[in-house]
Symmetry: C2
Subunit: 189 residues, 2 copies
Amino acid sequence: MAMEAKEILKAHIEKIAVLTDEQFDYLFSHFKKQSFKKGQAIITEGDPVDSEYFVISGCLKSFFINDDLKMFILQFAMSTWWVSDYNALYNHTKATVNVDCITDAEVLCLSNSDREKLCNELHKVEHFFRWRTNRGYVAAQKRLLSFMNNNVKHRYEELLKLYPELYNMVPKKLIAAYLGVSRETLSRL
Amino acid sequence: MAMEAKEILKAHIEKIAVLTDEQFDYLFSHFKKQSFKKGQAIITEGDPVDSEYFVISGCLKSFFINDDLKMFILQFAMSTWWVSDYNALYNHTKATVNVDCITDAEVLCLSNSDREKLCNELHKVEHFFRWRTNRGYVAAQKRLLSFMNNNVKHRYEELLKLYPELYNMVPKKLIAAYLGVSRETLSRL
């Protein structure tokens, strides 16, 4: 598995920035492999946040409980997705969202300070992380547009296009929580 | 004004990345100054998008009309904010959102290809743009959380804390469109 995680990260980064083997080994030495059980919390609202997570296997969710105690899912994260509470991570504040595991999961953990150090040392790593955040920014904007658009059927189809593996991996209740509708509304689609 | 725009951009970038005068002059030579009138469209849904805009003065909005013809405001952009349809810009697709001017406005326009060229040539510029997108990503996540949270009063107070100048600059109808509530609901707060 150690080898596999390394290969998955390498293939992911090489799509954007080609590092020498030496550079990649150096980069990889800053990641810590962690395994979590289904249901386990990785980030809990109110806690300090000092790392981000690159998913190797399994499925995570980031979520938020609003003032009416209703759960909303911000993001699902599967293999090759990154997840954290980036507001808390970048601004050194307490978490306002939660991240936990929908299935057993393996991740590579990178601390905020190591990411900044690596970006400073290697221009190509900074390029990769700029691209990564650009992609995340666009996904967050799309998510916002999807929330503003009332057409639930359209949003459901979009979701399954974006994450085709989700349909079998994730309870329908969680898909409803992502779309912001009830389980019953989802069943009718 | 030419001088002023240059100074505003310089001060903005220097918060994150200190460039030599020569480097900054080179960077600045890629920006085009543009003036727009109140109500004028900068990006229209369906059009190709090849640039992003750094606001010098005035107030812009990016917005979206949903399937029920209801308008939602994604973002207000005032002095030192960046705005574009980043999904369209990064992915070379047609615009899915609109950007127009709430007031007369002056902006500095940077093309996608020039930004990529500058990031490639100057590590410090890449660092700046990574930070810029990180900030945008966090703002988009907060915006999403604010949408998921039902407490309109809280969201209204947050908005005025984020953009204190908004209260006098922008019609209340547009503030309601940002919060996703009716003008009447807003008046009651």
